[in-house]
């Protein structure tokens, strides 16, 4: 049984209440940090743990914290990015629904480490129940003296607020989130300056994902060295994976980084294999924006090594034959799924969510969606694939924020790996409306189950 740090007590009844959470060892990290450690010690500890941002980019959290500018007389802010809206990712919502105090505790410790006196949890607007759960948890924590003035008699004050967003995917981008939090239109800012220098209300700000902040608690509880022992190389600790698609047991799993992808998909501890005895066709390993990989490349790297659930192993081979761990939205496709339809669907999402600020993303996402719509419905041309690749290249890297990249990668990778399926949609227009291209040569290299 793999070690669980975040979801250890997930099945304990009433774990969402402060009393039960404390009974299970909750708020020890707050006591330890505030009573025995200086803020610098906490930052150092997080650095030593090797924790990497769980929101998608995988930037080392400790390093991000140490970049925070600390000018005299200017407040600093910690903002928790709970605007989880990537298709395929639902781990933060799960964590906030069931163990809200894990996030609150993490926020207190992290705010203490950064010297923030006011912190915000920016929650996606659709997650009203989670907002209420968090607000109740904050009330409880305040009543118990973990929040507010003079926490645990240390002289450290912290006010924690929950801010509902408007439900825009773009507000998950950190600078758009800050704009939205300030009450403006959620358009990403042009960087530099980065939030660590001029963020919320032009003050130094750190924006972290829910899971990154919650992971600070076990790091303090078990110690950075112990935490760094979990995982492989630079991917340390545990990670929540939201598994969905054609698998027997969809859900949120906490894995130790370094689990082989094959084990994750087929073992009964995790996904439990492909549903209905079908065969694996493709996997989107880290949420809709990362490149899709066919079965042969997701189970083994191009070099023939086993692919592991780590930042490095999934990225092995670059974008030619690799993908990214991203936010851990693990979507599995079986042989009956249509990659063209899926790509169209993803692109439709990015078209809808593009903020419209910069031209390549605003116009390009809509263009790609229209071309993919045509392909999916059997009216495409054979030149459309080259057109899509070219448009995606024109968007990628030329936009203000990473949404452009996120829109371009799934399209480029789907065509890179599944080009014959796209071509089949053109050459077999009518057949593609009822039938399916199936597995073809990217068949899963494992023996069929039946």
């Amino acid at each position: 049984m793999a070690r669980k740090l975040l979801l250890e007590h997930i099945n304990v009844p009433q774990i969402n209440t402060l009393a039960v959470y404390r009974e299970k060892g909750g708020y020890r990290a707050v006591e330890k940090a505030i009573k025995n450690m200086s803020p610098e010690d906490v930052v150092e500890e997080v650095k030593k743990s090797g924790l990497r941002g769980r929101g998608g980019a995988g930037f080392p959290t400790g390093m991000k914290w140490s970049f925070l500018a600390k000018p005299e007389g200017v407040p600093r802010y910690l903002v928790c990015n709970a605007d989880e809206s990537e298709p395929g990712t639902f781990k933060d919502r799960y964590l906030m629904t069931h163990i809200p105090h894990a996030l609150i505790e993490g926020m207190i410790v992290s705010s203490y480490a950064l010297g923030a006196k006011t912190s915000y949890i920016y929650v996606r607007g659709e997650m009203m129940p989670q907002i209420r759960i968090l607000e109740r948890a904050i009330e409880e924590a305040k009543a118990a003296g973990f929040l507010g003035k003079n926490i645990l008699g240390s002289g450290y004050d912290l006010e924690l607020y929950v801010q509902p967003g408007g439900g825009a995917y773009i507000c998950g981008e950190e600078t758009a989130l800050l704009e939205s939090l300030e009450g403006k239109r959620g358009n990403p800012r042009i960087k530099p300056p980065f939030p660590a220098i001029a963020g919320l209300y032009n003050c130094p700000t750190v924006v972290n994902n829910v899971e990154s902040i919650a992971a600070v608690v076990p790091i303090l509880n078990i110690g950075a060295e112990e935490y760094a022992k979990i995982g492989i190389e630079r991917s340390t600790g545990t990670k929540l994976i939201s598994a969905s698609g054609n698998i027997n047991k969809p859900g949120v799993y906490e894995i130790e980084l370094g689990v082989p992808v094959e084990e994750f998909i087929y073992s009964d501890e995790y996904c439990g294999g492909i549903a209905n005895g079908k065969r694996l066709k493709a996997v989107v390993a880290g949420g809709s924006s990362v490149p899709i990989l066919p079965a042969n490349l997701i189970l083994k790297t191009a070099k023939g090594d086993n692919r592991l659930m780590t930042y490095e192993s999934l990225a092995d081979g670059g974008f030619a034959t690799g993908t990214m761990l991203g936010s851990g939205g693990f979507v599995v496709f079986d042989e009956d799924q249509c990659i063209v339809r899926n790509t169209w669907n993803f692109t439709r999402f990015y078209h809808h969510e593009s903020c419209g600020q910069c031209s390549p993303c605003r116009e390009g996402t809509g263009w790609m969606e229209k071309v993919l719509h045509r392909l999916e419905h059997g009216h495409g041309n054979l030149s459309d694939m080259d057109l899509l690749v070219d448009v995606s290249k024109k968007i990628e890297g030329n936009t203000i924020c990473p949404l452009g990249d996120a829109a371009a990668w799934p399209v480029a990778s789907a065509i890179r790996h599944f080009r014959d399926e796209f071509e089949w949609h053109v050459t077999h227009g009518e057949e593609s409306q009822t039938g399916n291209y199936g597995l073809a040569h990217y068949a899963d290299p494992l023996e069929p189950v039946i």
Binding site: H352, S354, G356, Q357, R362, E363
Partner: protein, 336 residues
């Protein structure tokens, strides 16, 4: 600022010394000529503008003297400040030219291309941009987005169909006028400039949104369909205006003043914003003290017949310094 505080950068191999905090675009403008990146959304008179249209993307092939690593992506030159020893490639980088071509194509896919009936034709930045950097034809085969025309007050008309969402008018309305009545509604390619429920901008300087608009989305209702701009003669004039500087360009057809605009420099930016009284109500020669013909860039269609031209630009692609400094790239692009 003392000379020793100037920082040295080179753009396409041409060195220039600028003050710290200058953007790459403004450093390039200091050199002038072909190496100036085109800008559709940046407007030097409007704080916070720029970074959106992506036409001014350039390649930073050397970050600075201290950190010579190149920047990983192309950067928007209008919002990236120069560092000492920075080396920038604009027209000498194929990557930049390709990316810019892509941006022009993107800007044009939802643009109606109705130049023959557009009042902006002849002084339209998008026309110039498409001519200089675009492809011959489009690969876009779908319906373009359309909007109904909206009257903003009785003097300005907004035709969103032509808009490229540069946000210049939003910044103008924000910074020149007191009330925030002008902004963006919607998202993505459905976004539209709006005065929120078509509330008229009631401000003395609202007419300037017409001048800052790079395309024909915001037009002067007192001039609409009166004439093509290249048939009119631009003449500099001024008057003693209590609200603005009173320095304008009058556009004559025969004896008649067809329209009044602010004076625009070679980058199409106004020199000084003018008030609505000057723009819309003073349309008689008697109202103005005439200074003389307005110099127009020699490349402009407006200058095609006569009139005084600006001097030809100094740095052109045949410039020996540029050629020498970029020998390798030029040879490479010829080989390619």
């Amino acid at each position: 600022m003392a000379d020793n505080e100037k920082i040295k950068v080179s753009i396409d191999g041409i060195p220039v010394e600028v003050d710290p905090g200058t953007t790459i675009l403004n450093a390039a403008r200091k050199i002038g000529g072909d190496i100036v990146p085109p800008a559709m959304c940046y407007y030097s008179k409007l704080e916070g503008s720029g970074g959106k249209c992506r036409t001014c993307l350039v390649k930073v092939s050397k970050g600075s003297e201290k950190d010579p690593r190149p920047m990983p992506k192309l950067v928007a030159s209008c919002r990236t400040t120069v560092m000492d020893g920075m080396e920038v490639q604009n027209i000498t980088s194929n990557e930049v030219i390709e990316a810019r071509k892509g941006v022009v194509e993107m800007l044009l896919i939802n643009h109606p291309l109705d130049c023959p009936i557009c009042d902006q034709a002849g002084e339209c930045h998008l026309q110039d941009l498409g001519f200089e950097h675009g492809a011959v034809s489009t690969r876009y085969e779908f319906e373009r987005r359309t909007f109904d025309k909206i009257d903003i007050g009785d003097k300005i008309q907004l035709h969103m169909t032509r808009c490229i969402l540069c946000y210049r008018c939003v910044f103008t309305a924000d910074q020149l006028t007191n009330q925030r009545v002008h902004g963006i509604l919607g998202r993505g390619d459905a976004a539209e400039i709006s005065t929120y429920i078509e509330k008229a901008i009631d401000n003395d300087f609202s007419g300037n949104v017409i001048d800052v608009c790079p395309v024909g989305a915001l037009t002067d209702r007192t001039f609409r369909f009166k004439n093509r701009v290249w048939f009119t003669k631009p003449v500099e004039a001024h008057r003693d205006c209590p609200t603005c500087s009173g320095k304008v360009t009058l556009w004559y057809k025969g004896e008649e003043v067809l329209r009044v605009t602010a004076r625009k420099d070679q980058y199409g930016e106004v020199e000084e914003f003018i008030c609505n009284t000057c723009r819309f109500e003073k349309k008689h020669t008697a109202d103005w003290a005439i200074e003389g013909p307005r110099a127009v860039a020699h490349t402009s269609v407006i200058s095609s017949n006569h009139y005084e031209n600006l001097k030809p630009l100094q740095v052109i692609k045949e410039n020996p310094t540029l050629k020498e400094a970029n020998k390798y790239q030029f040879e490479r692009s010829v080989r390619l």
